[in-house]
Amino acid sequence: MNKEIILRVNNVSKSFGGVKAVNCVNLEVSEGKIFGIIGPNGSGKTTLVNIITGFIKPDSGSILFEGENITGLPPYKIAGIGIVRTFQIPKPYYSLSAMKNLVVPLYSTRILNLVEGKTGDRDTVALDILEEIGFERDSNTPYKPASSFSEGYLKRLELARCIALKPKIIIMDELFSGLSVSEITSLIPIIEKLQMNGITIIMIEHRIKELFRLADRVMVLNFGERIAEDTPDEIIKNELVKRAYIGVAEDAT
């Protein structure tokens, strides 16, 4: 098993006005593993994702990908080196069909470089990817405009967008939110398959039960700070985590 650290976040902090959204957070993600991030609402999870993927610049700290410092790179470049993300609220291209939605990432520099210009027919590749994530190929579904899809399908489309970029790391920002249990259950094999193909996955989630089935390690954030990082079994037993979620009255210390 590959034990290389593929992503290292060092002492990253970010404040918005007077609010410290992310406070000196450290984490290390091993290649090929699934890394979970949980925490109550407002704990800074999405801000952290935005910082890693370049949408927000941190006040201090650095991000290292495969040993290289990527702090401060613009988001499209970070996607270009192989770190892709889904958005909490799906951002499909509503006026385009599902298939054409995927043409966009397939048109990216990364794909052009990876396949050395021989992209083949982007439409066909798009259909292949859609089939992988559960869009029936022979039906009308890939041709329907994105505006006609339900939340579940839109989330899959988000994932498809990531897959299309042949990433090394996929950051899934609350992929499971808004989905029914059966929809989540049908997504889990897809995520496992991605991991088996060597892709590192970072999952921000509120659905702890499902996440703990998948994750190799889990980090807990509260008020922008890391309060724990361990295997799922240990996290469940962790007192600090319980307090953060449930809010037991604190002692004078």
Partner: protein, 337 residues
């Protein structure tokens, strides 16, 4: 009970479903169904010059083609890339002045000055507009609107490029048929090329930028580069129109930067139907004659069409081409039962 022997049936029955994607070439009937409106449009535009008797009206047709180029570029940027460009006058003015200067100062014949003005003007306009691309769209709209107003005042103030009087005595085209049969095919070519472009992969990316810029960024695409390219495309179309106009009338002046050229394309697009690239052409063909007929009323003409524009924009009308499209698809005919 009377027997029903006939019923109404939509003409696109059994065809509509096939018209999407590759099934369109599966039968002659589908091909005709799809091509017919396009055919009518193209042939119509090509023989229209021959059908008009008076020279005045032929000039109006030329003007409407020039305006339609501006309108197409507005529609392209606004509805396919998501960039609202209110600087039609910028393109006309820059294209016109460059061509005029090349022609009168450097004595280049118009067959050279127009293409050079098109490319060069396109580059210049794009350069002026690039800084506005990374920030909120409203800045682009405001700045693009302001530039022509400022440019004309600067030219006037500094008395350069002919100042208030302009540059007269430019080359004109040999005859009216030349004028007509260069601009009309070019209008058609631009219309159909852009329609093709927006369905090519490059165009898909542009449309994606309009729908959701952030997702495009997250897909490893340098959005600013694509926006710049699309602004360049729009600029060269607009600058060509300006250069053509300069040689149509044989002079350039401050009026090339008039607000008229910024508003007209928007009005034409709204009337004809935005998002279709054909709508602006139809809209211009309707609006240009109307505008000429009202010229007798002086400033009231501008009042008239600003109010119309305000009304159309506020009441969010659909536009003529989408309306016609709907009617075409829903046309019914009698069929024996």
């Amino acid at each position: 009970m009377t027997e029903i022997t006939r019923r109404k049936e939509r003409i696109d029955r059994k065809i509509k479903v096939l018209t999407e994607d590759i099934y369109a070439i599966s039968s002659l009937r589908t091909i005709v169904y799809i091509l017919l409106p396009r055919f009518v449009f193209i042939i119509g535009m090509l023989i229209l010059p021959l059908m008009i008797s008076s020279m005045a009206w032929q000039k109006i047709l030329i003007i409407s083609c020039i305006f339609s180029l501006l309108a197409i570029s507005y529609d392209f940027l606004a509805n396919f890339v998501g960039i609202v460009c209110l600087g039609g006058a910028l393109f006309i003015g820059v294209g016109g002045y460059i061509s005029g200067l090349l022609n009168s100062v450097l004595k280049l014949p118009l067959y050279f000055s127009i293409p050079i003005a098109t490319i060069f003007g396109g580059i210049i306009c794009t350069l002026f507009l690039i800084p506005c691309l990374p920030i909120r769209g409203i800045y682009f709209a405001i700045v693009s609107l302001m530039y022509p107003l400022l440019f004309s005042r600067v030219i006037q103030a500094l008395e350069i490029f002919g100042g208030t009087d302009g540059l007269p005595g430019l080359d004109t085209f040999p005859n009216i048929w030349f004028e007509l049969y260069i601009i009309v095919p070019i209008t058609l070519i631009v219309t159909f090329s852009l329609r093709r472009l927006v369905n090519e992969d490059f165009g898909i990316v542009l449309r994606a930028i309009r729908d959701n810029e952030q997702a495009v960024i997250a897909s490893n695409i340098n959005v600013n580069r694509y926006k710049t390219s699309s602004v360049f495309i729009a600029s060269i179309i607009g600058c060509f129109a300006g250069a053509y106009l300069a040689h149509l009338y044989g002079w350039v002046g401050l009026s090339l930067f008039a607000l008229d050229f910024s508003i007209f394309p928007i009005a034409a697009t709204v009337i004809g139907g935005g998002g279709t690239l054909v709508g602006p052409v139809i809209g211009s063909i309707i609006l240009a004659p109307l505008s000429e007929m009202l010229r007798a009323f002086g400033p009231l003409r501008v009042v008239f069409y600003s109010l119309i524009l305000a009304g159309l924009v506020i009441y969010k009308t659909e536009g003529l081409v989408p309306f016609l499209e709907r009617k075409y698809h829903k046309t019914e005919r009698w069929v024996d039962v």
